[in-house]
Symmetry: D2
Subunit: 106 residues, 4 copies
């Protein structure tokens, strides 16, 4: 995934719709939370079995993929506005996680 | 960002800690929501101006970057479990968004 | 507000629709989170000033009141399922909060 | 539950700590979302069976009760700031829900 290119496309999309003035950090993090809950909503009444099956059915999975994409789009927009390098951030966090949670000895 | 490689690293990390049995779609989407709220928490009491400034201060931005990374890590884990191709999903959703929200005419 | 009566009404409403089997603690806490985000959604793009004004306009406030009610309905359902006495819980928490956050000396 | 009295107590608590200027509608709805996620967090890794058992164990239930109380405290604060009568709101919403979801015929 080409993050800089995707980030620029998402920014241009917002700019062409005059949305940039609304894209403050507080508003973006709220919008991202709302999309997150729309993703959660797809799973709220499913049994654990039904939730597993959802992954194997491309037709039922499509609206779930759309919500995942919406969360990611707002995340890229927020990273752009805050000047966050997401690729660097995820690698840095994975190192912290490895120190915090040592692997189970075999 | 090399999504397949990152996805495999995150899966291996969970496997080495015996977490895979807990990584059902329902549990992952709940965990992702919790990380999302931890990101939101950094902004809840900030004025709009303070929220803008946060992006310009690398020291204060670091915990925010960590929460963004946590959301992304669970998103990659969820995509892995459900068999979602995130790169395809984001491109498909951007096309839908362009049809749903026509650009402002100039 | 008569909590025991309201709790019984909400339980009877769910029972008459055959929803009780779906009302597990995990499902209810997810549904409550979704309603919470629908409440958040009303505020996401408002300026601080617009958000203040919303409270003074009964017409614009009504959908916000509906979302607040939805969160409360699921909270009462969750308390019912878990056997939580909400009135006792809020009083106990307010005592803890007073110890945790001493008042500013004047 | 005496809502007007509880609402006044929560307002006085915030006032004594100089928090009222921070209690804008946007900030309160964000804070309420964060508490909602802290409630969700208690359930994220539980099996459905473990989540049911939690309700029967007063010791394990106490931190869950605290989070439910925190959501309710912010809801009462938000209702106060917006001028919402929560008791009226919940009754109005239950009538709407009855029209939207007719009971299953027996």
């Amino acid at each position: 995934m080409d993050l800089p290119k995707l980030t620029a496309q998402i920014r241009a999309f917002a700019e062409a719709r005059d949305w940039l003035p609304h894209h403050t950090p507080k508003n973006l993090v709220m919008a991202m939370s709302v999309e997150m809950a729309e993703l959660l909503e797809h799973f709220q009444w499913l049994t654990p079995q039904q939730a597993e099956q959802l992954g194997r059915d491309p037709v039922r999975r499509e609206p779930v993929e759309d919500e995942m994409a919406d969360v990611l789009i707002y995340m890229l927009r927020l990273a752009d506005v805050l000047g966050v390098d997401l690729e660097r951030a995820i690698h840095a966090k994975m190192i912290k996680n490895a120190l915090k949670h040592p692997a189970v000895p075999r």
